[in-house]
């Protein structure tokens, strides 16, 4: 049987998207999406952790017994998060100053754990890596979308301060769409996070319905 990489990629990015379909990892999806730039940075850090931990679990899955799998998964995720934290602090310090306090929170994000339990624990190294990576990228896309909606409506800008995060070369990303002080500030505050997420989930389901697909109900259950 050939590994259905195409399905894995599609699942991760759209069909089974961690935030928009499974509604997992909502804590960072709410807290870190006050701007598209922060959301993108947080998403990429999470994707790195997910790819690395999925690969490791896929690699060692035959050695991990049923009984101790959950502590081992958490150990793997926590170690990867610590590594990302250390390396980012040392070598990507500007990014670290923005994301630093949120990186430890990746440990408590249930999406990486859900993917280890649902996929990497049952599949070999390469498919697990692909699953972790694309689930992570799907998470990044969802977060960036939420962040973009909140930032445009709330502040009138898009990708503000992207050059602080990724370097001066990314100055071109910084766009002002609405005049200063015209935004609806609530969208940047916590209620706006729920509103933006809710509207995006609706948008995804409408697109799926239009394409004639059955809506997956039950959120997290589809992952387990």
């Amino acid at each position: 049987m050939t590994t259905p990489y195409k399905t894995i990629v599609r699942d991760g990015l759209w069909e089974n998207n961690g935030v928009l379909a499974m509604l997992l990892g909502l804590c960072p999806a709410m807290a870190m999406t006050t701007s598209a730039t922060n959301a993108l940075g947080m998403g990429l850090a999470t994707a790195a952790v997910m790819a690395a931990s999925s690969m490791l679990v896929g690699m060692f899955r035959s050695r991990i017994t049923q009984e101790v799998r959950i502590p081992v998964f958490i150990l793997v995720i926590a170690s990867m998060v610590t590594l990302v934290d250390l390396f980012m602090n040392a070598w990507m310090h500007e990014l670290y100053k923005v994301l630093g306090m949120f990186i430890p929170l990746i440990v408590s994000n249930c999406l990486p754990l859900a993917r280890l339990e649902a996929f990497a624990g049952k599949n070999s190294t390469l498919p697990s890596l692909v699953d972790g990576l694309f689930m992570g990228l799907g998470f990044t896309i969802a977060l960036t979308l939420i962040g973009a909606v909140r930032e445009v409506v709330g502040m009138g800008t898009l990708f503000a301060d992207a050059s602080l995060l990724f370097g001066p070369a990314f100055k071109f990303m910084e766009i002002r769409l609405l005049p200063d002080d015209t935004g609806i500030l609530m969208m940047v505050l916590p209620p706006g996070g729920f509103l933006a997420l809710g509207l995006l989930v609706v948008a995804k389901r409408m697109l799926d319905l239009r394409a004639g697909k059955a809506i997956q109900m039950g959120g997290a259950h589809s992952a387990a």
């Binding site: 701007s35 017994t65 101790v68 793997v76 250390l86 040392a90 500030l185 940047v188």
Partner: protein, 210 residues
């Protein structure tokens, strides 16, 4: 049989812990110097914004003492010297904003005149309270060159409270906290001027720290 199982699971978990422990220890030893260097750069960077380079020729981080502020909290006081003469000091000040404590760094010259104030850390609302950050607005720059007598003490308030400082759009509590922190910081300097500027005390704690 049962005990064997427990032992086996324990071994598996233990092996993973050991393995990742070693990986983390190695990574830590690789990055520890870089991380310390970055932290020092950050500190020097925030100090250079409140102490102009023209007034000192010393290493600000080296010539530092710790003392207790008015809230009995330990703060580090960095001293700027030029040719052995103290020309200014910089220290952390704390204010209460809308969402908890705000940490600022303030530099003052020997006369108690503000050289500069910058926000180091805060949890204020993005888009409202964060206009005190220098990269989001020039509000915080207005305090430069002011001192305890200028404006008079009862004017060290936001306009809403009868003072002379503008609050910014939509936020009063944040600027109120910042102004209060600055005023208390200046009072701290006025009360402990000798201790804060006494350069002879700086060498000892430095050796302990290094």
């Amino acid at each position: 049989m049962k005990a064997q199982h427990v032992l086996r699971h324990g071994m598996i978990l233990g092996t993973f812990c050991l393995g990742f422990g070693v990986v983390l220890a190695i990574s830590d030893s690789i990055t520890v110097d870089d991380i310390a260097a970055r932290a020092l750069e950050d500190r020097l960077n925030s100090l250079s914004q409140v102490i102009p380079a023209s007034i000192h020729d010393n290493n600000l981080v080296a010539d530092a003492i710790t003392m207790k502020n008015e809230l009995d909290k330990e703060i580090t006081v960095y001293r700027a010297t030029r040719e052995g003469q103290v020309t200014g000091v910089a220290y952390e000040i704390f204010g209460t904003g809308y969402a908890g404590q705000m940490k600022l760094m303030m530099g003052v010259d020997t006369q108690g005149k503000i050289l500069g104030v910058r926000v180091l850390a805060h949890k204020e609302t993005a888009g409202l309270g964060d206009k005190m950050e220098v990269k989001k607005g020039d509000w915080i720059l207005r305090f430069t060159d002011l001192s305890l007598g200028n404006p008079p003490p009862d004017k060290w308030k936001v306009k809403k409270d009868g003072g002379q400082f503008d609050q910014f759009t939509g936020a009063t509590i944040t600027p109120r906290g910042v102004i209060d922190a600055i005023r208390r910081g200046l009072e701290l300097f006025a009360a402990h001027k000798e201790q804060m500027m006494d350069i002879s005390t700086s060498k000892a704690p430095r050796k302990e720290a290094s």
